[in-house]
């Protein structure tokens, strides 16, 4: 076994063991499995939210876009911050409702708020369809990381299967608590790795970050603004994408539901305050992508830029460390996604569709069963349907952000009812599918998902005015404006 390979295997093994041990004592039920009994304080919630937000995408997608697109990659820094600002106002009331009504999933929220099984069902479908590309992104990234870091000793397919089985083991046994523990390993490893290479690589090749940028601006004067090296991602695209993804940030069922695990609503607000700082690793990843562009232009797959540069610049054991950190960075969000998708399919599709009552133990078994099923589906997709990483993420956001009006009106407009929200949702989803399939993304320079979200919002508000007369007067609540 080569050195890098040993380090990677050790990482994956230790993480799996920690995840399994992390379950704690006592019997597992859905409340514990999916929301940790709602006992998490600032630290665990922070770890979880960071765990699902800082993903392989942070490692590979951000550096890949810095390398190949330039300026438009900066949207990644902006949208997260916008997402946290919105969450500051949005999550605490959602949490209070979840707590009182014992909600576990995002469709539970729709069911409780809008009293509509149909809306909850549609939310499950949108969520699962959006989660699968996101999960696929994590797996594809993981395969790429391990293959390159191990210098080809492990092929990407083998890596994907092995690491994913390990992930399934600790999600199956330990649920969200196990994930939070593995997230500790992941966060420490990722930050150490990114700080070392983000500062080290520009210094190694150019003698510092400032000098690297000076050289980049000399060689590629337009690379660091919008639209950078792309033909279509101008200012309009960036602004609309930041809005779309910022609003979609907490619409993901797994991020939405991770708020439920907080022990009080202040925890969520304090989290929103500090989270923007946790985006700084992304900046360092940009540095690596830019350095890679100058050092080795013309890579066939820009998503590999960071890894190729690392293996070329550092000794084998360090490449192994990056590979291991990268693998765990994919495993934690994949675990969150699996857990989220499984819980909502079991609770919000399977249980309502069965005519007979379903016991808690039965539901727990069903959740685990669906987890394995979704895992296999994503695995097959990851092995046979490759895609550029950032585009997978943006497709997911296109879909899931359509839930935003339903969530915001649900929280802040007491009189919003199910029909207008449903109409808007359907209009938004149809718009986004139509635009992407007909090749109109971007549309008039705007992100297609954003156009669809605007249609969605307009249809919702207009039909509210028509269907529920007087509703708009009640909706003049203090909404977080964007």
């Amino acid at each position: 076994m080569t050195t890098p390979l040993l380090v990677i295997v050790a990482f994956v093994f230790v993480s799996t063991v920690v995840g399994v041990i992390g379950r704690g004592r006592g019997t597992m039920d859905v409340e514990r499995w999916s929301v940790g009994g709602r006992q998490f304080g600032v630290v665990l919630v922070w770890l979880l939210m960071a765990g699902e937000i800082y993903t392989t995408f942070t490692f590979l997608g951000a550096s890949g876009w810095a390398y190949s697109h330039g300026g438009p990659a900066f949207y990644i820094l902006a949208y997260g911050t916008l997402g946290y600002i919105i969450s500051f106002f949005l999550l605490p009331p959602v949490w209070r409702m979840a707590k009182r009504l014992k909600l576990h999933t995002q469709p539970d929220f729709f069911l409780a708020r809008y009293n509509s099984q149909a809306l909850a069902g549609v939310a499950v479908l949108i969520a699962v369809v959006s989660i699968v590309p996101y999960l696929q992104l994590q797996l594809a990234g993981l395969g790429m990381i391990v293959e390159i870091a191990s210098a080809g000793a492990i092929t990407s397919h083998v890596a994907i299967v092995v690491a994913f089985v390990a992930t399934c083991i600790f999600v199956y046994t330990s649920g969200i608590r196990g994930i939070a523990w593995v997230a500790i390993i992941k966060d420490v490893a990722m930050i150490v790795a990114v700080v070392i290479i983000g500062i080290g690589l520009p210094a190694m090749y150019f003698g510092g970050v400032g000098k690297m940028f000076a050289e980049l601006m000399r060689q590629h004067p337009t690379h660091l603004t919008f639209p950078g090296a792309t033909p279509v991602m101008g200012v309009r695209w960036v602004v609309s994408t930041v809005l779309l993804t910022g609003m979609g940030f907490y619409c993901w069922p797994h991020t939405f539901a991770s708020a439920f695990s907080a022990k009080d609503d202040r925890t969520l607000r304090r989290n929103a305050i500090v989270m923007p700082l946790y985006q700084l690793p992304i900046l360092l990843v940009f540095f690596v992508g830019f350095t890679a562009l100058l050092v080795m232009p013309g890579l066939k797959n820009p998503d590999t830029a960071l890894l190729v540069l690392v293996t070329r610049s550092y000794p084998g054991w360090f490449a192994g460390f990056i590979g291991g950190a990268g693998a765990v960075t994919a495993m934690v969000p994949a675990a969150m996604l699996l857990l989220g998708a499984a819980t909502l399919v079991a609770k919000n599709l399977y249980r309502p569709l069965r005519r007979r009552p379903v016991s808690e133990q039965h539901l727990m078994r069903a959740s685990r069963g669906f987890m394995l099923l979704i895992a296999v589906a994503a695995l097959l997709l990851a092995l046979w349907s490759p895609h550029e990483l950032v585009m997978l993420l943006i497709f997911g956001y296109d879909g899931v952000a359509q839930l935003f009006p339903a969530i915001v009106l649900g929280v802040f407009a007491r009189r919003a009812t199910v029909r207008p929200v449903m109409l808007g949702l359907v209009a938004g989803v149809l718009t986004v599918i139509g635009l992407i399939w007909s090749g109109h993304d971007p549309f008039l320079g705007l992100n297609a998902g954003f156009v669809a979200l605007a249609v969605n919002g307009a249809v919702t508000l207009v039909s509210m005015a028509i269907l529920d007369r007087g509703a708009l007067a009640g909706a003049a609540a203090p909404e977080p404006e964007h």
Binding site: L77, I85, L101, V358, P480
Partner: protein, 139 residues
Amino acid sequence: MAPAARPADPIGPGWSYRDGAPGGNKAAGRPGDPYAELASSPLGERKVATGRLAHPANGGNIGIVTKRHPVGALILALIPALALVAGLPFVNRVDPTVLGLPFLLAWILGWVLVTPLFLAGAYVLAQPKDGGAGGGADR
């Protein structure tokens, strides 16, 4: 209200109900608690446990308890959001560099760094002013 009661009770002092529906269900729980009826009705609790969420007997929607945000908190939070969205068309250039960073990146990064300050300000403004005393005065 004893200060110690607060952490366990999210609907504590300083929280208010947007629909302002106090009374009517006092017998069922806290005054003005929109869930009281639901949580305490035998139907409600049982239905929650089986996953079919119950609803108030009148069939209406369940309102969410939203905390009143002072306008100041909203404005404070809006500033970085605007800078990061509406500000972008005006800063789309590399000059002047700031600490070696191209201007566009420096602008975005700067706002990411100060957003916690704005949100911390909003947090302070959104806190109940009573500081633990005079609980429920706000209702």
